[in-house]
């Protein structure tokens, strides 16, 4: 794959989408890593992280999470909810998830000091919420969803309802 690449860098984006055990949640999970494809960038990676034998220039993980809108559903019930009306709910969630993952990756790739002022990150005051037993920073929010950065730097797009329930 790299042999025929003339570009200076390769961005690998690995993605998986699934229903959680019990079928209550749709998850779209993604990891991205930027690799050098020339000596200049390889040297930068080596200088910045001498112990990294993969010469990574950038790396992060992203998760989109959406529950089916029912509580304590059995798996069969959750499956029925997702798939009713020719899968209207699961299709809508998938489409939203695709857009959200793309947005998260782009947001994260632009989140560096020189660009902070220009991104949506800087427009929001720092707000911390409790999520999955961790303090997560709210990077942005819509009426329905939070964009969160967890302490390990990874990004999440989660519905606000989910946090309220915690």
């Amino acid at each position: 794959m790299r042999k025929d690449a003339t570009e200076t860098t390769l961005l690998l984006v690995s993605t998986r989408y699934s229903l959680s055990p019990g079928l209550r949640y749709l998850r779209i999970w993604c990891a991205a890593v930027l690799l050098p494809n020339n000596d200049t960038l390889k040297n930068i990676a080596t200088t910045e992280r001498p112990d990294d034998k993969f010469f990574r220039l950038y790396r992060n993980q992203f998760l989109y999470l959406e529950p089916v809108d029912t509580r304590a559903a059995k798996p069969e019930e959750a499956a029925a909810r997702w798939s009713e009306n020719n899968g209207e709910r699961i299709r809508a969630a998938m489409s939203e998830g695709i857009a959200e993952i793309a947005r998260l990756i782009a947001l994260d790739l632009q989140d560096f000091a020189a660009q902070r002022e220009k991104t949506e990150i800087a427009k929001q005051p720092s707000k911390i919420v409790r999520y999955a037993r961790q303090d997560a920073t709210v990077l942005s929010e819509t009426e329905r969803r939070y964009t969160l950065r967890l302490p390990n730097g990874t990004l999440r797009s989660v519905p606000k309802d989910l946090l309220a329930a915690e």
């Binding site: 690998l12 020719n86 999955a132």
Partner: protein, 167 residues
């Protein structure tokens, strides 16, 4: 070369995602200045939605979470995220318990898979990513393509995690 790329993707799943550790490597200013062009390679080893299941621990005992009669929504969130990573790293266990659970999850999720027939995840994802990534000035995206499906990606997905990821 793609095999190396896949091993790399699996590697960074394994070595840094534990809670409390910084997983993210931000692009430095030097990197931003030096990038002249970027090829985006998408790895997606599935053509339909997967139903995950609670995997037994390696000693055969069920996870404590699975035996809890009642679980809070907060716990479910945690569980969902944790298993997203676990399931990616070890999609299907080899033992009979895992096989049974996998089969049951497949059966339960069949209506969802049927409802999603004709849904074009790949093309939609490529289009959405393309739009967003091409708009990033410093990245200078020249091309976006899917990695060839086949053995290397499968191999990555089978690699077992060294430890469980909590987030």
């Amino acid at each position: 070369m793609f095999r190396s790329a896949c091993v790399l993707v699996a590697w960074f799943l394994l070595e840094g995602a534990a809670s409390g550790q910084t997983f993210r490597i931000p692009a430095s200013n030097e990197t931003l200045k030096a990038v002249r062009s970027t090829r985006v390679i998408l790895a997606l080893k599935q053509d339909e939605i997967i139903a995950d299941y609670v995997r037994p621990r390696s000693n055969g005992a069920a996870t404590p979470q699975e035996n809890m009669p009642k679980v809070s929504p907060g716990f479910l969130t945690d569980l969902a995220i944790g298993f997203a990573f676990d399931a990616f790293a070890d999609a299907v266990g080899n033992d009979a318990i895992s096989a049974g659970r996998a089969r049951r999850a497949e059966e339960q999720s069949e209506p969802v898979r049927k409802a999603l027939q004709g849904y074009a995840f790949r093309s939609g994802y490529e289009r959405a990513l393309g739009e967003k990534l091409r708009a990033i000035d410093w990245l200078k995206v020249t091309e976006i393509r899917y990695a060839p499906t086949g053995a290397p990606v499968e191999e990555c997905a089978r690699m077992r995690p060294k430890r469980r990821f909590s987030s």
